[in-house]
């Protein structure tokens, strides 16, 4: 797997001016003097979803907080569209979703959203729009504190759509959500990524692989990998074959659930092994990759 401690700018057609730009230059940031992020540098220009990955404590939330201007870097600079993050003009280009709900208690859902609409300078119809968009009409008159974890998350995400921005920082937006709602959220985020920059952290590697175009992997507060997801090559290429009549043809010891697991040298070997199995009368139902290359980023 390739490693780029200080990657060059990513995205954008050569020579074409980027519509939006996030630039970190030598940023160290953290809490009470403890440098969680250490000398982090990268530039993002191309509208896409940039999945931020890393084990617990790697610095994902600290990165989001630093990008959002919540934490002041100990050193280095954060620029949004060329504007230092300390300036209000930079913050008005961002939309931030924290890993916690951030909703005042004692308020009903629509009251809480109106509160944030006021803070953001969003119009009153925006509240009605996001209530419809996130499907929380039935929750609008309920107190936020009475909602389930998943419902709270939906309301929290609704706030992200109150005001259109060009850069979205989403810290674990689908945690605590059921698969159906998580997919709906992913679809909304994919819609954003057509024109905007989206940084999206997740512990779900399959979700990350599904929606991410770029991966920014943090390890011990440093950039361990930053590049296209498709450029990642797993250290092992393992496929699972679900098939009828494969017993005796494929080793039984390799079976994992319904799948016969085979380690290959690369994807180019797949047609060959499939052809061999078909020739032996095996009826192949499905062939899939069993290892997510993103897992290597956690190794």
């Amino acid at each position: 797997m390739q490693t780029e401690p200080s990657p060059p700018p990513l995205g954008g057609a050569p020579g074409a001016p980027a519509r939006h730009r996030i630039e970190l230059d030598g940023v160290s940031s953290g809490y009470r003097g403890n440098r969680v992020l250490q000398d982090v540098s990268f530039v993002i220009e191309e509208p896409a979803i940039y999945v931020v990955l890393g084990p617990n404590g790697a610095g994902k939330t600290t990165l989001f907080r630093t990008l959002a201007g919540i934490l002041e870097p100990y050193s280095g600079t954060v620029r949004i569209d060329g504007i230092d993050i300390a300036e209000h003009a930079a913050r008005t280009r961002l939309q931030y979703l924290s890993h916690i709900d951030g909703m005042p208690d004692g308020l009903r859902v629509d009251e809480a959203l109106r509160f944030y609409a006021g803070v953001e300078g969003a119009s009153a119809p925006a509240v009605e729009r996001v209530i419809g968009l996130l499907g929380i009409v039935e929750l609008r008159h309920r107190f936020f504190s009475e909602l389930s974890q998943g419902q709270k998350k939906r309301v929290s995400i609704a706030r992200v759509f109150l005001q259109e921005r060009s850069i979205y920082l989403l810290d674990e937006p689908t945690s605590n959500l059921d698969p159906k709602l998580a997919k709906e959220i992913r679809d909304l985020v994919l819609g954003l990524s057509r024109d905007d920059l989206v940084l999206y952290s997740s512990h779900n590697l399959y979700e990350a692989r599904e929606i991410g175009k770029y991966v920014l992997a943090l390890r011990d507060g440093k950039v361990g990998y930053f590049g296209r997801l498709t450029d990642l090559r797993p250290t092992r290429y393992v496929i699972g074959i679900r098939a009828d009549g494969a017993e005796g043809v494929l080793p039984a010891a390799s079976k994992r659930g319904e799948y016969f697991v085979q380690e290959l040298s690369g994807p180019e070997e797949v047609p060959k092994i499939v052809a061999e199995l078909v020739a032996k009368g095996v009826r192949i139902r499905e062939v899939k990759e069993m290892e997510n290359p993103l897992e290597d980023l956690f190794a």
Partner: protein, 217 residues
């Protein structure tokens, strides 16, 4: 917010109850005029801790994190905590005095108006606001620079004592001095507590970086 309203309700309720008991009690005017202005700050401090609790409980809610992201300076959040505390103190004092003095006047309870007015101006009002702001300032800084804890030994559990203790102490000391010096002690103590609040506010900028307002990772 819920806990803030709860404490405000308790502060108003208990202080109004005290006013009614003293104004309508068996001994009438004498006790009301002497005791009510001296004890009212205790309830004002207790009730106004709702402002502090609202501030400190945000570390598990994360509202401040969003407000900072939207560009609200942390110092504004801190000062708003103090403003909420002062507002709650004013509400509690206003309600209890309105009811207390209103009932006393309505039932013809005889009080020495000049003495009561002097006590209110030189003790009740300054000490209530000074002690409430002192409690809130100490509590907010303390809770922010320490790891989140709950229970009676936490900053939140001990905060009311921080404000009530000097209030009671001042009363004890003031009782030991000649009557003519009583108001010098009370007004002086209130001034000293306000000065302590100012010093803490100046220190707060150094003690409380932005990360102090954020929820734990």
């Amino acid at each position: 917010m819920v806990i803030g309203r709860l404490y405000l309700g308790i502060g108003v309720g208990v202080s109004v109850l005290l006013a009614l008991i003293l104004a309508l009690g068996a001994h009438g005017g004498a006790e009301f005029g002497q005791v009510f202005p001296l004890e009212d700050p205790l309830f004002a401090v207790m009730g106004s801790t709702g402002g502090l609790l609202t501030f400190t409980s945000d570390r598990t809610k994360g509202v401040f994190e969003y407000l900072i992201a939207y560009g609200v300076p942390p110092r504004t959040l801190f000062l708003n905590g103090l403003i909420a505390t002062a507002t709650m103190t004013a509400i509690i004092l206003g309600c209890s005095m309105l009811v207390g003095f209103g009932v006393a006047a309505g039932f013809g309870v005889g009080v020495n108006s000049a003495v009561v007015a002097k006590t209110v101006v030189l003790y009740t009002l300054p000490m209530s606001f000074a002690a409430a702001l002192f409690t809130a300032t100490v509590g907010m800084i303390w809770a922010s620079i320490s790891s989140p804890r709950t229970g009676m030994n936490s900053p939140l559990g001990l905060a009311p004592l921080v404000g009530i203790a000097p209030t009671v102490l001042v009363l004890i000391v003031a009782e030991t001095v000649p009557p003519a010096d009583f108001y010098y002690v009370t007004a002086g103590a209130a001034t000293a507590i306000v000065a302590a609040v100012v010093v803490l506010l100046l220190l707060s900028a150094r003690l409380m970086g932005r990360e102090r307002f954020l929820s734990p990772l």
